[in-house]
Amino acid sequence: MPSQPANPNDPAVGRVLGTEHTSTSEFRVLLEEDEYLQLDDLVVVRTEVPKRGEVRTYGVVTESEAIFEGASFESDTRRIAGEGTMPGAKVRSARVAVTRVDPEIWVSPDPGEIVERATGIERDRALYVDEMGRPLPVGVGRDGSPMFVDLDFFDGRKGGHMSISGISGVATKTSFALFFLRLLSSRPDILGEGAANLRILVFNVKGEDLLWLDKPNRYFDDAAREQWQRLGVEPAPFPSVSFWAPPRTHSGDVVLPDTGGRQDNVAAFTWTPREFIDDGLLRFLFTDANDSRNQIPFIEERVRAQLRRYAVDVAGEPGAVVLRDPVEGHRPGDQVTPHPGETVIRDLRGLVDQLEEFVDPEDAEPERRWTGRTQAGTVSAFMRRLQAATHRLGHLVRAGESRRIDRAAAQVSVVAIQSLHDLGQRFVVGALLAETFAEKERTGQRLPLSVVVLDELNKYAPREGSSPLKEMLIDIAQRGRSLGVLLVGAQQTASRVAPEVMENAAIKVAGRLDAAEAERAEYGWMLPSTRARARLLKPGTMVISQPAIPVPLVVDFPFPPWATRKEEVDSTQADPFEGI
């Protein structure tokens, strides 16, 4: 016999439906007349299992249904509700996906048992919060209470990386990523040891949305404040942010950051020819996924290695180099005075011109030491690409004092690459990722954590083809977890991203999805009902899947306290960090 609710004025909402089989993955609830369940509500059922005692089945509502019982033809609806000539009872029910059974005796709930709303400790159990190593609130559920992500599955202990999908235009992907990082950096009590020296690298690829992270938002209201506080965070803009932008082209000797709305506190970044050569950045000039189909990678690799051997610093010109045959006996760190007539390489143009003399000289044979046995056609293709790159991102390489991005300058480094051509964007992303990863590879330590936020991941790690950038992203996805390099990748369509990258993201998030996209295998982690809803999600609502919970959760995240456009900047509010 079904048990009676322990407390008559509480959480019982209905009974487990007995007209169809219950299972360990799903059951339905017949609702009491004066109760309701909506999507995402959490419920618990107690079942008496022979020989084992009480088992509690927890679940989340995935569908809500209602029907006229007694109606067998569609027109009976009119007879029941319109004419009233046919008796029929309105029956409401809800479909529940099981999230947990406790203790772990995998039996289905008994039909007829009382279904209760899971609140308090029962809610935590339904969401496995009691088992999470470090539960970080990542938004509120439909019931207004926080929903959690287990950080063990983000920071590399048990899993790493986050993947965010959603159509563009509703501005939820980056917003959610930043919201998550703000929580992450505001809750050292939960993050633990990883909180010290946490570094976050964010690429601004569209508009100038991310150039205002340190400014208060004038539209931030008390309702949003209350939501933030419910998550245990006092809402404020990011306290420690550095902004970086490429220099303007044609600005002469003055290096000014190429940004529109914001000029103050934005630093221009460049690499010197010396840094370009030492870091092997040449490879990031060949990031088109089609380049790998021809022989270009071979010649690029050879040229890259030769540059390292040939480059010698120039006395009195920091960052500039000349290329000399190593047989001349220079050693690392040497500074030389250029010979008369010798080309001093001060920018990418200079470098490319010098290379052309080696690999594709007019009226002469190419130097085999630089080209190997590559065919002439390939060499020409190589040079054509170099010339194109010079045109598009030449301004990123210039001699002089070092202006490389200092990721240690602030907790969050925002790199604004929206003004660059695709090729330039890929170059900067590749250079910075390589730098970050190499740094961590050297130490071999997981801590301090380094988080990279990258939107339009499909551009950098496309599903088809291969490129140095894609290989590196795959490497980060596969090994970054143990090295503390954590990727927060965002894309419109997960199906266009290299599967190796997607598969390694322990935490998967989706905002509103294109209907066709939602049906793809990449979203297999969603329940069918969640997929159907993914088309309708509002900005500020996300679906989150994590290894600790077998069903995806739907959460709302609050409006940001920082500005996302220049017009949102609240200039009346004094900047608390001004003058620091």
């Binding site: 000539t85 046919m86 008796p87």
Partner: protein
Amino acid sequence: MANLHVESWSPDYGSPYESDAALAEPERVDETVEVPGKWEPISGVDDGISEVAFVDGVRRVDARLTLDEPGSPVPGLCGSYAVGAVLWNRSIPRSEVIEARVSRLAVFAAGKGAPIPVVSPELSYRSESVPDSDPAALITRFHGAMRRAEGELSEELAMAGRFVVSDGPINTMAATDKVGFIKSHRAPYLSAERSAVIARLGVAERTPLFLIGRGGTYERYSWYFRIAQLAGGHSWTGVVRGEVSAGLEKSRALTIAARTTAIIPAVASESHIDPRAPQNLVPIAALERELRRRLGDPGYVYRALRSAIMRTTPAGVT
């Protein structure tokens, strides 16, 4: 414990039996109680009554039994019947099942009897017997029990002041507001001259009242009326007969006849939905469906009964 057995034949086996006590023999009819002269169709009058209760019953033979008596085996049956009511509230408008009573009965022939083991609290049969040894008498008794229960329910509701339309002839003659609703026409009540008017009845029109069974036990007013006009139907298509107790004042009987004639067409069924359309009324069809459901799953009942009886019958005796 006698040797009781459940027959392995399907309980449905055997010819369906219809019993209508009132049809036993031709009765005297007085055609002049309302209109002594020439009959013309009369329009129904809806007096705006807000609630109508429909009463009906269903029955089902759950199992055929054999009692192994010395001499000759005694036939018996186990059956379930349910009677219930739907209340049509015309002002909201809504209908709901307000009453559903399930009974279970075992009947044995030849005056014999045996208790049926209680299968479960919801499934226990009372046991009766009929003197006859004809198996058809078992069904007669069973059907009669259901009709009695219907009558009791109708009477109860009518006594509580409700206007009752009950499926089939009325079988209690108390002077209350209850109408028997008769769908099939087996006995000719009217003279040929008078019955000609039936072909001319429009929807929601009736014949004048006539009195059946004057001076007998079942004295009642009756009238024919049309509840639907079907394309291509014969002249009696959609014609039903109503009857009320003659214990009522004639004026009261006329009010009820007028009202019934006017409002019943609203609940007539449609032929693509109900094979017994239009006479099988929508609330009654729904009530029957609900009552059948309340009888329980026939397969489950049959098997539970069978295993309960087998447990109490000594093994090895067949």
